[in-house]
Subunit: 297 residues, 2 copies
């Protein structure tokens, strides 16, 4: 399958898994609203492709792939809340709390955190209990305070006092922590889960984790660059906020040119890891090319 076919499959399944007709409908509509906003579906695609690369059946990874997109949507819903980034637009549409109100948006996010593993547990008919437990362990680790939420908490500090942050960390280290957890952990989760479902070896799991870490950091650098150089029309969300807020980002720390150089360098490393795998992956290469394209390098 190519990238577009994967995306189509994911969109079809997301629509299938998310019901809107259960009482009380508000919460299910609110959950589905953000999950089904048009997006790049990078995380579920990576999950399916990792499963394929390591010899698995992508059908077996579909519930997990979609569940991780639901978790990603959850982080967006809560990130956009007035008490967090206070964003009105996401993927070109009004944010969840703008449509459903703050209380429902908080609860929709909460509900997605447990709905995602519910989808995995209910729909993964071919996975053994042992494999399901492994997937659950990956999910709870990367979804929580040891994963993406730890990154978000550090990110909040980076919005205010990064030069003299309360953690006493050098800005470079704080930035690395944020990128590793806020972004790369949600790349590690799908890539590792896809590989686990395929029964990949520990060695292969290490390789794909290394790839996920690098690609996640690269993706975040490209996001930081885009916040500086792109427009609302191109991105579907309010931009330039980092600069206005004097936020710690790759661009604020290293400047635009160095950021682009570092990004190109990390993406080369990502390519090298993919090229060294037994099964080649044009889809992962396409994702790398996509990141280059969005920032014009």
């Amino acid at each position: 399958m190519n990238l577009e076919e994967y995306i189509e499959l994911v969109n079809k399944k997301l629509d299938e898994y998310m019901h809107e007709d259960t009482f009380p409908q508000d919460i299910f509509k609110s959950m589905k609203y953000t999950v089904t906003l048009k997006g790049k579906r990078l995380r579920p695609v990576m999950c399916l492709e990792a499963c394929r690369i390591f010899g698995g059946n992508i059908e077996d990874a579909l519930p997990t792939a979609c569940a991780i997109e639901m978790l990603h949507a959850q982080t967006l819903i809560h990130d956009d809340l007035p008490c967090m980034d206070n964003d009105d637009f996401r993927r070109g549409k009004p944010t969840n709390h703008k449509v459903f109100g703050e209380a429902t948006a908080v609860l929709a996010g909460d509900a997605l955190i447990s709905f995602a593993p519910q989808v995995i547990l209910e729909h993964s008919k071919n996975l053994s209990a042992q494999t399901l437990i492994k997937i659950m362990k990956e999910y709870v680790k990367f979804a929580g305070a040891y994963g993406v939420i730890g990154g978000q908490v550090a990110d909040i500090e980076a919005e205010k006092n990064w030069k003299n942050n309360k953690f006493g960390l050098p800005p470079e280290d704080l930035l690395e922590f944020i990128h590793s957890h806020k972004t790369a952990d949600l790349f590690k989760l799908p890539l590792r889960c896809g590989a686990i479902i395929a029964g990949a070896s520990e060695e292969d799991l290490d390789k794909i984790t290394d790839f996920a870490q690098k690609l996640g950091v690269a993706f975040q650098i490209s996001d930081d660059i885009l916040d500086e150089i792109s427009t609302f029309e191109e991105m579907g969300k309010t931009l330039g906020k980092d600069k206005t807020a004097d936020k710690l980002t790759y661009v604020s720390l290293y400047g635009l040119d160095t950021s682009k150089e570092k990004l190109a360098c990390i993406l080369e490393e990502c390519c090298a890891i993919i090229d060294a795998l037994k099964v080649k992956s044009e889809v992962l290469k396409d994702i790398i090319r996509g990141i280059k394209k969005r920032v014009g390098i």
Copy 2:
């Protein structure tokens, strides 16, 4: 073990499971703050006691029992947020967002939703993969939109337009839905999980679920009554808000006297279920007596 011994054990384990020294410390401190506020520990105690009644080893149920208390704490943190009930006090102490700020409180709640199953998965050394999967399925169902969150969404509607609620439900049915899900589902979860860990039969699971449903409704009726008749000093939170807000509660719908009569009647039914079990439970009886005592019936 008696009620006090169970509570002591749960408090000790909660303290042990919740770390505060992991980076970034704010989030872990915020999570631990609400989880370790002094509480009745009804849910974890019920989980341990259900495990004992059906012949299990309570040690095996400890991680699950504590995890469910963490989930309960999560619902309190998000319930208290300004966009929800906007409460400043909980269990006699400032609410989470008053201490750590709104953004961290939102994230601490999010983190607890996945930390709770993480505790189960990491610490339940004696449970088979099959049993763990059963526990995970219970958790994700009752924690999410099909469980406690569905109840909370309906509860929000009950604060505003319950006489002409947008669901088109008679107030009696709306109230029953709220009590069943907002409160009773978080009683079903620990009682069912304790029974599952003990290897209880389907028949016994049905009995304990019936008990949980009734006890949960009873507990919520007693809460509604206390909101009317108790004080801040006795309850450690702001009271009388239901009346001020003309909220749908047992008291607003049926009046104080009828509510007390219904409560006494339901608690009798709870006792009858317990008395009919093979193994007697003074601890569950004590919980029933506790509910009677708090409203003076």
